[in-house]
Symmetry: C2
Subunit: 230 residues, 2 copies
DNA sequence: AGACTTCCTTGACTTAAGTCAACTTAACCC
DNA sequence: GGGTTAAGTTGACTTAAGTCAAGGAAGTCT
């Protein structure tokens, strides 16, 4: 199956490339399809290339021995993932799973590294992607160790509000169980926090729709990491 | 003050460069000296370049509003830090402080980016550094959300043991308070865990010297994240 | 050496969040 | 459209780890 150059040119990672370089990228690209629930790679696997998403959604997560999991990212169309092993020579540090029917582009390691060597602007794009992700992880670590669950949830809701460009309400794009895992907690706790925050008049929850009733209060909570006791 | 090319050639980031490229790096490098305790940059500052360490030690940390801090890294000679803002255009996500008398090399943003464009192998080195760091953060996040403090401590001790190439004992290279902060906990808790693990015959603690009495037990603890109840 | 600070440890108490279990709601599918 | 499965919620209980406070060790500086 031929890979249309249009798809590749739409992923931000390749946005700085000229026609010629894009053509070269096309020649090394492999298209892969996954069903909902299918594992793309597992922690510990050797990585012989990385992926970008054409359509669908992918979650990247770590599993504890007892089965509890922590979601590190949920990626959507245009986003690359699985690059780390390409450049470290070490196995995947986490597992990737399609959480919807998903179509991916796969870039084999050796060919891609060669491309980067020839193409400084591709190198810079990749450096930009990695740096941004490092920055996000820094925030995640801060959230986990310096904030309590209500603070993390507030941060997330405000982030979503920003993303969806709606200051008054957000729509969850993942299930509440997945959100719990993304925030480093469990569904029971998340559920209780939702009701607590609703009681405190910060939000109103209707299924996956959440109205932000008090942005100042939410900002405060996200900042201080704690629900102020009343 | 002239920057000796020998120092630059010794930092891993520049190890792949030829004489000519090294010379170019020299011309953009600025040497900076810091006293113990001095802040190098603060979270939120605009980053107009990054650093590598010639001698001394630097801690990178996040601060919670009430003053509690979480150490993300402690870097030593040869290691680069502060790169993220150079490539994301966003401010520093954390604060850097010298924890000893420290001598640094500073690389101004624009000049360094230009160098990367001209030098694919430098680009690859930088990609390698960032990828490795991403990998480490993945482990840190796993530790924080999936393991309890004893598990995190075990992981750290085993990592140190590996680093110091001594399977039976390790010497802490940072204070116990700093270690607590690095593990996402507080000194009181860390102290208690040390005694608990000593009682469980896993380790013996004498100041900063820690003997690893039961590596299998420690491995298990690091893996499962919990002290098995007796 | 003594006085200082900083680091570490220990005790008593509190609390956020996890566990286990039951029940409800919503989604899905012949 | 009822019946199965998954997702979400609520309650009672437990627990890891944080807070507050007080003492002890250890290194540092005149």
């Amino acid at each position: 199956m031929k890979i249309p150059i249009e798809i590749i040119s739409k992923t931000p990672l390749f946005s700085g490339l000229d026609e010629d370089a894009l053509q070269k990228v096309c020649t090394i690209t492999v298209r892969k399809e996954y069903d909902k629930g299918q594992i793309i790679f597992s922690e510990g696997d050797a990585g012989n290339g990385f992926y970008t998403i054409v359509s669908g959604r992918v979650k990247i997560f770590k599993v504890a021995p007892e089965g509890k999991e922590h979601i590190l990212h949920i990626f959507g169309p245009g986003e690359p993932f699985g690059e780390v092993p390409v450049f470290t020579g070490r196995p995947f540090p986490a597992t990737a799973q399609a959480i919807a029917v998903t179509s991916l582009l796969f870039f084999p390691k050796a060919a891609f590294v060669a491309l980067i060597h020839q193409n400084p602007s591709l190198a810079m794009s990749m450096i930009g992607v990695l740096s941004m992700r490092l920055r996000e992880f820094t925030v995640q670590i801060e959230n986990l160790s310096l904030k309590e669950v209500p603070g993390r949830l507030s941060s997330y809701l405000l982030y979503l509000s920003d993303e969806q460009e709606n200051p008054n309400a957000v729509k969850l794009t993942i299930s509440k169980s997945q959100l719990a895992s993304l925030l480093g907690t469990i569904p029971e706790t998340l559920s209780r926090i939702f009701t607590k925050m609703a009681v405190a008049q910060l939000i109103r929850v209707q299924g996956g729709e959440i109205q932000l009733l008090d942005r100042i209060g939410l900002d405060d909570l996200a900042e201080n990491g704690k629900l102020p006791e009343k």
